[in-house]
Symmetry: C2
Subunit: 314 residues, 2 copies
């Protein structure tokens, strides 16, 4: 078992970027790095070389414990770390780490199943995350919450229900990706300005619109007609569509309970805070610090006596 005082190298290796933080034994982030070497830009078989290239000097100098979260543990990544099933606490995640070197582990993602009413062989809908689970445990460590509803906005936005410190369930929404494909590839692209500034009023109105009426497939066409009839200037259409989609996500989750915690980029959490505020709800927002706090909490859990068996059993 490694000494408690070991340095931690926390790596968040996602689809588009590799982010890393060197964290000392007291939990202080000493240094961070970011590379445009997300797993989609790494050829199969080249993960170890890219890792060495980006972080080899830190590994040699500090001999840290290294935990890698995110898509690096997917089938298209360095090696597939099988999903950990929900409900999953912190300890369960530690037990499911995939050690790929003596001091380097891939954090598995989580898997849950939504029960559905239909009685067919493929009833049940699977849901998955990779990387967000670490941010969730980091957010719990930072806020001290044991019961919460977390929202991790993004390409695939995740709503995560935490009870007694465990992730009991989560739901993915394709909000960010649907925004991207509609604004780039649909008829809406003809009138939208890609680089327009965010317009709060157009966004807020669309969030309200999304709470009623015939649903997002219908409302989205209103982004087109708002341009045709000049109800909205072209530079507000992107904010309108964003409000419709985020508003639809909030509508779907309007029954969710517990303190709301947003984790993500400042740009996205600000947008969700505004949407939530429009609907009379409040949220706490956390950013990159949640990722590092999650890695740290996981590393500390590994070093606690109760976890030594799991670690040495690899």
């Amino acid at each position: 078992m490694k000494p408690r005082s070991k340095t931690l190298l926390a790596v968040d290796w996602g689809s588009s970027a590799l982010r890393a933080a060197l964290i000392d034994a007291l939990g202080q982030v000493l240094q961070t790095r970011q590379f445009e070497r997300g797993i989609l830009k790494v050829a199969p078989g080249q993960f170890e070389a890219v890792f060495e290239q980006c972080l080899g000097d830190w590994m040699a100098e500090h001999q840290p414990l290294c935990l890698i979260s995110g898509m690096a543990g997917s089938r298209q990544g360095w090696q597939e770390a099988p999903y950990c099933p929900c409900p999953a606490g912190f300890e369960a995640l530690g037990r499911h780490l995939l050690w790929i070197k003596p001091d380097v582990a891939l954090v598995p993602g989580l898997h849950c199943v939504h029960q559905t009413a239909a009685s067919v062989p493929w009833a049940g809908q699977d849901d998955v995350m990779r990387g967000e689970e670490v941010q969730v445990f980091g957010a719990l460590a930072l806020t001290g919450l044991q019961e919460a509803q977390l929202i991790l906005p993004g390409t695939h936005s995740k709503w995560v229900a935490v009870r007694q410190g465990k992730i009991v369930h989560f739901q993915t929404f394709m909000t960010g990706e649907v925004f991207a494909v509609l604004s780039q590839h649909s008829i809406l692209a003809r009138t939208m300005l890609a680089d327009a500034a965010f317009n709060e009023a157009a966004f807020v109105h669309a969030v309200q619109l999304a709470q009623e009426g015939p649903g997002v497939l219908a409302h989205a066409f209103g982004t087109r007609t708002s341009a045709l009839f000049e109800r909205l200037p072209a530079e507000h259409l992107g904010s309108h569509l964003s409000g419709l989609l985020i508003g639809e996500e909030l509508r779907a989750m309007r029954q969710s309970t517990g303190p709301l915690v947003l984790v993500g980029s400042a740009l996205l959490t600000a947008r969700y805070e505004l949407a939530l505020h429009t609907l009379g709800r409040q949220a706490t927002a956390l950013h990159q610090e949640a990722t590092w706090a999650g890695h740290l909490a996981l590393a500390r859990g590994l070093e606690a006596p109760a976890q030594s068996g799991a670690r040495s059993a690899r």
Copy 2:
């Protein structure tokens, strides 16, 4: 005023194709033609030349009355025929024809406004159609209905409420286009097979799924995980996504009343009939004949004495 016995040249000139039918004074379709010369394939200023090229011989030989419906009357078309406001009957449409030659008229599209609760300057959501209005009046002529809920599936699916023979309201859904962009440009494209055969069971299950749960932004991600967890073979994923989206459209319109009439291609109307049947509803399906019947009804209306003033007032 033209003699009642005039031949009609009905033209359905949409975004992707130009379809035409020569119809005699008794209402019999004598001949049809189709050209891959939709308005997106015609350069500005070239509409008259393309019309002449495709249909000049029929115009010279039969000297018909010619009615052109569809996107040819849009801002990107031959000439912009301003939208006719709803509620709109048959006669209103006749009065709003845009005569671009002595015997050639563009049929205007329809415009309606969805009232919204929000009290902002741009409250109200506009909705528009071009071409479908002729199909609706054709369907009414063919079925004899004066009260109906019509569904015109497609890239932009239209639900049209008819009361006392008038189109009182309609709602557009981006169902077909969202299917296209998600299956071609989103993460779902990675596992879907573009040319797979339709799978009824996967479609029906997805229609059911869409009636409950957290909405289409969430359900769509299930198309991805159904592939990851091998609940569905890759060749069924397209049918699954199609069922989710059409199911969402039907969910949104579950309160609609009146006999249901589907108008569209045989492929699409069959799919909607199956989805409706899954939810315990029945519909009558009509195809291209509704378009020609609509043009014919419109032409006959023009020749009726009550309409002569409108025609000669152009």
